[in-house]
Chain length 137, copies 2
Amino acid sequence: MKKRASTVCPIVYALDIWGDPWSLVILRDVLIHNKRHYREFLASRERISTNILSARLQSLVEAGLLIKIEGESNRAQTMYRPTQKALDLFPVIFAIMHWGLKYNPNTDMSIPIMQELKADEKGLEQRLLRNFDDVAT
Amino acid sequence: MKKRASTVCPIVYALDIWGDPWSLVILRDVLIHNKRHYREFLASRERISTNILSARLQSLVEAGLLIKIEGESNRAQTMYRPTQKALDLFPVIFAIMHWGLKYNPNTDMSIPIMQELKADEKGLEQRLLRNFDDVAT
DNA sequence: TGCTAGTGATTGCAAAACGCAAGTACAGAG
DNA sequence: CTCTGTACTTGCGTTTTGCAATCACTAGCA
């Protein structure tokens, strides 16, 4: 993707940061499924490959959506956590989920979060936000 | 982008359709700026190239987001209009705009729609929807 | 001490997608 | 019957993916 540098349009600004087919999958894992380790992202159903995961994590850190927390003397402790800028994507992700829910006939409605999204979106957001008390303002 | 065929996740479903860096720009032009002709999409600030525009329009038609209306005996009359499936993306686009507005310091707030989005989003959506009475159910 | 497994990446290479410029086919204007 | 405008398509070089293999390091175990 060509970086469009500075844009006057908020949509293009957003797309330049996470408008590729993988970044939002990672952010979904962070925000919805509370994943934080490289190995957890790799384990997703979508089977992202290691080099792409590595590149995306890095660009999301650079864009200020994730912070990388490295353990001392052990790489296995490395984790990625969202910033407030990422937490503010909840409305976007929920809007996308509503749309996908409406049009994707293969959606797995047995996943608890799907029910919750329809029944009580605000409550769901509040519950998920509590996973990030450490980073939220 | 690899087509992930059938997915159980509504987000991945959505990304497979418009999760590339250009499709949403086109949809923005259709939904927000009421563009309908090839030449109008080409004129956007983002300078999409002709082959990519052509390919994206085609894939959005295939995905059921746009319909292509061809004039009889004159290609200059060809136009692209959104389906209900595309109109249902308004909440997604508005959510993205809110986020971009918050974090993009270069947003041009003198564009009237930006003010309107903050002041009266629902009213804005209703007003824009009236552009599509011909296609909406 | 050595061996094995797990983790967070990086590298190499083929395949796909993109970006740009040029060209094509057709309609209407003059 | 040229000239302009429009909706594409084609060629081609560059960039970005996708996949497998590999690396560097740590911990666990004997």
